[in-house]
């Protein structure tokens, strides 16, 4: 061994490494950036959560006979809102007030101090009061339940000891906050009460207890476990699954550049989109195998090992659902990784790029660990965070259908964007042949203007509009239904498509199918318009009956508020506006962009996007079917005016029925009672209408491009 030689080699390697800016960025820049970034983001989220909780008034359900002095004492503060007997079932209320139910005793002696007694959470399924409180708190109808046991008023009057129990949910920050506020106030109340008694009876300090305050968490041990476990697990699962995708993405893209096999592949009669699709599927599969191995190991560990440690088991259904959600995350990550790795000059650069990307993934996923960060309408659309939070809700067994649907829709949208990004990278020959690409090369202005919209373009637009519309609608909350609908329709649907068509210089008439229809098609559209909604409802809502809350919400929406709006306004806002804006978006630009996929694929996909845009799992099937009908009408008649007629009539007639209250009589809104006779009648009219739809006579029918 010659130290001089070792030193010489070492110096050369270090010199070369230090001249590689990317290595420097990953080795030095990333660690310097990542921790301040993570800490800043997490602290900001924590502070925001605390501020939100501090400002929020805790909703407290009060069960039992009111103890006036106590309630007055509690109401002095403006942080507690007391709601008597909320959520207490009538039967239980009777049993409770009769004194049959008594406070549960802990093994501990009654407290001699000011402190409240905490009872450990138990899965006491036989305690009806606990179960009722658990339901109320799990439904988030209240933050805490204050139980004033029978005889408390008399006990306080007679210098005896009263009993109070507070139910709260230890895994919900809002509930913990409510308990904290209650404990502070109750302890203060007891202290003052004891002071009064001691003074009245001339007793030494500490002689009396006056009031026994007990607290009990309604969270089951399983839920508590799920809360701890569900915070950490998504981070672990997402990072490990993404790591599985990393090496495959590097090898299949930049690795092919290094080996110059990419050029051989590009010489073969294959389309770049086919190459990217095949490679994406390979990386996604590898990532999925990694996710599956993680889930399998997790399930095995908890079934075999954790059972011995008396930990709850994870149901098979939960594991399957988590795997399903990971398939969405890995889809997005695999597509993004493929695109990023293909941008790199060689495998080393790609490894550096993706290591940095993987490290940066930690930031959003770690944010989902923060206490108080929950899956809600806002977080459902934040990439990666939404899936991490959804996995958490699975472990907490608090899954809600609509939030699940929104999260999955958002995850699909991001996966779609990632795929469009990857396909754009693979469309650049210079990048694939070994040159390093830049994001600038992928921007729309850098490509040759196409004379018609492409599937990638319309899918990207849909994903962006979906997210913007969602957040825009949340911001518009409180501005009134009419303002919200008009802003969403004209601002988020019509304006982007019109701007895009003008900016990209697509032919307006062709893109939007602005052709006058023949009279048969107009009659057909009128028939479809009056029958389509009933036919679709009659068929689909038997399969998927909507919850009452959705029906009520829909009724309010169709009336434009609790008080019915004038009929002309209803038609303007709910019939003509969507007929113009949604048709321009879905049957105009979207259908045109998807045209090259073939008629049925274009109609089916545009209908699916139309269904997804309605943002409700219960409305997905009916709106999808309606979208198929509208797509067929627009395609077959070659005229968007026909689908506009169908759309306007469909919406307007349902709104009119609701306006005049006819729906209640027919049970149309409930949709559970659409009689078969009405359904079949509507289907017959619909069939006649569809048969009448046809292309304008002046233009020859292109049999290959016409469905049906």
């Amino acid at each position: 061994m010659r130290p001089q030689i070792i030193w010489t080699i070492f110096r050369k390697e270090i010199t070369e490494a230090l001249r590689d800016r990317l290595t420097l960025l990953v080795v030095l820049g990333l660690p310097i950036l990542i921790y301040p970034l993570v800490v800043t983001v997490l602290v900001r989220i924590q502070k925001t959560q605390e501020a939100v909780e501090d400002q929020r008034i805790s909703q407290v359900a009060v069960w039992g006979q009111p103890v006036e002095p106590l309630l007055k004492f509690l109401q002095r503060t403006n942080t507690l809102k007391l709601d008597p007997v909320q959520g207490l079932p009538t039967e239980l209320r009777r049993t409770f007030e009769s004194g049959e139910l008594q406070p549960r005793r802990t093994d501990k002696s009654p407290p001699a101090s000011d402190e409240a007694t905490a009872t450990e959470s138990k899965d006491d399924s036989d305690d009806p009061l606990l179960l009722a409180a658990r339901k109320l708190l799990t439904d988030k109808a209240a933050d805490a339940v204050l139980v004033l046991w029978p005889g408390t008023t008399e006990a306080l009057d007679q210098l005896d000891r009263g009993n109070i129990t507070v139910f709260y949910d230890e895994v919900r920050p809002a509930s913990v906050k409510a308990w904290s506020r209650l404990r502070e106030q109750l302890t203060q109340f007891r202290r003052e009460l004891v002071g009064q008694r001691q003074e009245q009876l001339k007793l030494p300090a500490g002689f009396a207890t006056a009031l026994e305050i007990r607290s009990e968490s309604v969270a089951t041990p399983k839920k508590v476990f799920g809360n701890h476990f569900g915070r950490l697990l998504p981070l672990l699962l997402i990072m490990l699954s993404a790591t599985g995708a990393l090496y495959a993405a590097v090898d299949l893209t930049a690795g092919e550049k290094d080996r110059t096999t990419m050029q051989t592949l590009l010489c073969a009669p294959v389309l770049p989109l086919e190459i990217v699709a095949g490679k994406f599927l390979a990386v996604w599969s590898i990532s999925l195998v990694s996710a599956f191995a993680n889930i399998l190991s997790l399930g095995f560990t908890f079934t075999r090992v954790a059972a011995a440690a008396n930990l709850p088991t994870i149901p098979l259904g939960t594991l399957a659902a988590v795997l399903g959600l990971l398939s969405l995350v890995t889809c997005t990550v695999a597509a993004a990784f493929i695109g990023v790795a293909a941008l790199a000059r060689d495998a080393k650069d790609a490894g550096n790029f993706l290591s940095a990307a993987l490290t940066l993934l930690i930031v959003p996923v770690a944010a989902s660990i923060m206490p108080g960060v929950e899956l809600n309408a806002w977080t459902a659309f934040v990439p990666l965070v939404n899936i991490a939070l959804l996995i958490k809700t699975l472990f907490l067994e608090e899954l809600r259908a609509n939030l699940f649907f929104l999260t999955v829709v958002a995850a699909f949208a991001y996966a779609m964007l990632a795929l469009v990004f990857a396909s754009r990278v693979f469309g650049k020959e210079e990048i694939l042949l070994g040159g390093a690409g830049s994001v600038r090369q992928l921007l729309p202005g850098q490509t040759r203007a196409k004379s018609e919209p492409t599937p990638g373009l319309v899918l990207t637009l849909f994903a962006v509009v979906l997210v913007v519309t969602f957040y825009g609608s949340l911001l518009l909350e409180g501005r009134g239904l009419v303002t919200t609908i008009l802003t969403v329709q004209y601002g988020f649907f019509l304006l982007p498509v019109v701007l895009l068509v003008l900016l990209k210089r697509f032919p307006v008439a062709t893109t939007f199918s602005l052709r006058p229809p023949n009279w048969r098609s107009v009659v057909g559209a009128l028939l479809i318009g009056v029958s389509g909604g009933v036919a679709v409802a009659g068929l689909t809502l038997r399969l998927l009956p909507p919850p009452d809350s959705l029906v009520e919400g829909l009724r309010d929406a169709l009336l434009l508020g609790k008080d019915p709006a004038p009929l002309w306004l209803v038609w303007l806002v709910l019939a003509f506006t969507p007929a113009l804006c949604e048709e321009a978006f879905f049957r105009g630009l979207t259908l045109s962009g998807l045209r090259r996929l073939g008629p049925w694929a274009a109609i089916g996909l545009s209908a699916l996007l139309f269904g997804i845009a309605h943002a409700s799992i219960y409305r997905l099937l009916p709106t999808f079917l309606l979208g198929v009908v509208l797509g067929y009408v627009a395609w077959r008649s070659r005229s968007i005016y026909c689908s506009m007629i169908v759309h306007a009539l469909n919406n307007g007639l349902i709104a009119t029925l609701v306006h005049f209250g006819v729906d209640a009589e027919w049970g149309l809104m409930e949709m559970k009672f659409v009689p078969w006779s009405l359904t079949f009648g509507a289907l017959a009219v619909l069939a006649v209408g569809l048969a009448l739809i046809g292309p304008p006579r002046s233009r020859p029918v292109d049999a290959e491009s016409t469905p049906g």
Partner: protein, 250 residues
């Protein structure tokens, strides 16, 4: 006769750099045409445009009448491409590589297996056909690559410096394969910077210098026009002429 490969007015611009300018060339069936030029002359860029891998800034390429940009799949089915620096998939065997590309070229399973067996026999690949490519020597890899390029019986072969990294014996094997394919009536475009190789194999030669065709014709025509005795001197003559127009005028 209709040219099997025809390029008209090919240009390629990389930002401000003009890599290829106004290249016109054609290759007939049963003809070996050489594309000669020093490193950086634009040979690889030209070949990439001819194979449809790279979009030209201007100009058009047709292969057996198919426009490589407008009808890329049909055009690429007629092309067999081989490069001197192309590696193989390291973890696959040559037989697996051939099967993979056969499927990409749309060959049926029934026609693929006998064709692979035929190539393995013709190119003397039996001893290594089922070994991972990472264990093969350079010569063995290049034989597997030739098999891949010939697999779908293309009418046009484009070879980008196919002997660049090979020893004399392996190089000779490639030369023989080229001559065999010419006899079979294939149109072969062959880029190299080895002048002796071009002299020996090519029916016609295009001299490429700084992205332009400096001269083209048969070996005799090139030597006559340049007044030189061999192709190396003829090429240097053109290179000097490009730098100093006075030499050309003289």
């Amino acid at each position: 006769m209709t040219a099997m490969l025809l390029a008209q007015g090919l240009q390629k611009q990389f930002g401000a750099v003009s890599a290829v300018q106004s290249v016109n060339l054609e290759v007939q069936p049963g003809e070996v045409v050489g594309l000669l030029g020093p490193n950086g002359a634009g040979k690889t860029t030209t070949l990439r445009m001819l194979t449809g891998v790279l979009a030209p800034t201007a100009g058009q390429v047709t292969v057996r009448g198919w426009d490589v940009r407008a009808q890329p799949l049909a055009a690429k089915r007629c092309i067999g491409f081989l490069s001197g620096d192309t590696q193989l998939y390291q973890r696959l065997t040559p037989r697996e590589v051939l099967r993979y590309f056969g499927r990409l070229y749309g060959m049926t399973e029934t026609s693929l297996s006998p064709r692979i067996a035929e190539l393995i026999s013709d190119l003397e690949m039996r001893s290594f056909a089922d070994r991972p490519c990472r264990t093969l020597s350079s010569g063995q890899k290049q034989r597997a690559n030739i098999a891949r390029a010939l697999l779908h019986r293309p009418e046009v072969l484009m070879l980008d410096e196919p002997t660049a990294a090979l020893d004399v014996v392996s190089g000779q094997f490639i030369h023989e394969a080229i001559l065999r394919e010419r006899a079979a009536g294939r149109a072969i475009l062959f880029s190299t910077h080895f002048m002796s190789e071009a002299e020996r194999l090519c029916d016609r030669i295009y001299l490429l210098h700084e992205g332009r065709i400096a001269d083209h014709g048969t070996l005799t025509e090139l030597l006559t026009r340049s007044g030189c005795n061999n192709l190396t001197d003829a090429f240097l003559h053109h290179a000097r002429a490009a730098k100093s127009p006075a030499i050309s005028a003289a």
